[in-house]
Symmetry: C2
Subunit: 190 residues, 2 copies
């Protein structure tokens, strides 16, 4: 149930519309939790039903009307409850789900050139993603300048550092994997 709690966390900084939440989400949390716009609207409806949020419609003339959500007492308590309940499942903290690794695992059924192409493609993705972390840092610097919520910014930064370190490790791995496969091919040839 982390999407709901992510939204509670964002709303803790102040009321927002679904649209704004969607953008905040994509700017800050998307590197470890991806969510579709439609899912966010659905969760907001569900959370209001649970009493964690309240909303108010704001009529606009120049733009479409919008619905502004804010945390209730119950929502705040739920956030606190979730944060103070440590994860019991050992595996979930570290283990991730990766369709890419599934392909690697099954790569024995593919021609080797295709495997190499796949790895090369993965490498490019890693490089791109590393770049996106750099822009993330810029965004942080921008918010950090406004200060006031230094604490929040500090932890946001930590999640970005985590992403960067994972990404660098993935890059090292893929380079080594490519090397190993190529090296093997060379030996086969001789």
């Amino acid at each position: 149930m982390s999407l709901k709690h992510g939204l509670l966390g964002l709303l803790n900084a102040g009321p927002m519309t679904g649209y704004e939440l969607d953008r905040s989400f994509k700017r800050s949390l998307a590197h470890f939790w991806q969510a579709q716009t439609s899912q966010i609207y659905r969760e907001l409806t569900a959370m209001e039903e649970k009493g964690w949020l309240q909303s108010e419609e704001v009529i606009q003339t120049e733009k479409p009307n919008k619905r502004v959500y804010s945390l209730t007492e119950a929502g705040n308590e739920e956030l606190q409850r979730w944060l103070s309940t440590p994860e019991t499942d050992v595996a979930k903290a570290v283990v991730v789900r990766s369709a890419f690794l599934m392909r690697v695992f099954l790569a024995g059924e593919m021609p080797e050139e295709e495997v190499l192409t796949m790895l090369q493609h993965f490498k490019e993705e890693c490089l791109k993603t590393l770049g996106s972390f750099a822009s993330n840092r810029e965004a942080i610097a921008h918010y950090g300048a406004a200060a006031a919520h230094e604490k929040r910014v500090k932890y946001w930064e930590l999640t970005v550092m985590y992403g960067e370190s994972q990404c660098r490790a993935a890059l090292d791995w893929v380079e080594q994997a490519i090397f190993l496969l190529k090296d093997e091919k060379k030996h086969e040839a001789t």
Copy 2:
């Protein structure tokens, strides 16, 4: 749709029962794709309906009866089709979903000691997981000795290497994070 394709891949090595698939899965793929036993049975039923598998009931007297699944032509084609269709979604290759990082992101709403406890706990998980990769390597060595499917073993090994490198990176990160938080506290004290 990777769970289905993982199962297809395992069955490509020979017919198996749901129970055996479950154990194979947990032994080899579980470090990048976790699946509940009940989910595996459900997927098997669905895949047989799609014509990717066929099954046969084996009557046993000393043990409960079992149902042995094997790949059909269509199943094999589907596996090939999936393997040769590269992932189009850029983000999915690298981005992962992590409730732990969600907690870190929201850690500003927690007392700092709790954050430290959480990080320390995460560190222990990392260490445990690193250990489990070691046992994974032993399992590989065991299968590798039987040879015949060297290719499969090679790629299996690569997925383990990936897990290990990610895990080590996570460990480095958490140690640094703990250091940063403690250091900050010290400066506040003075």
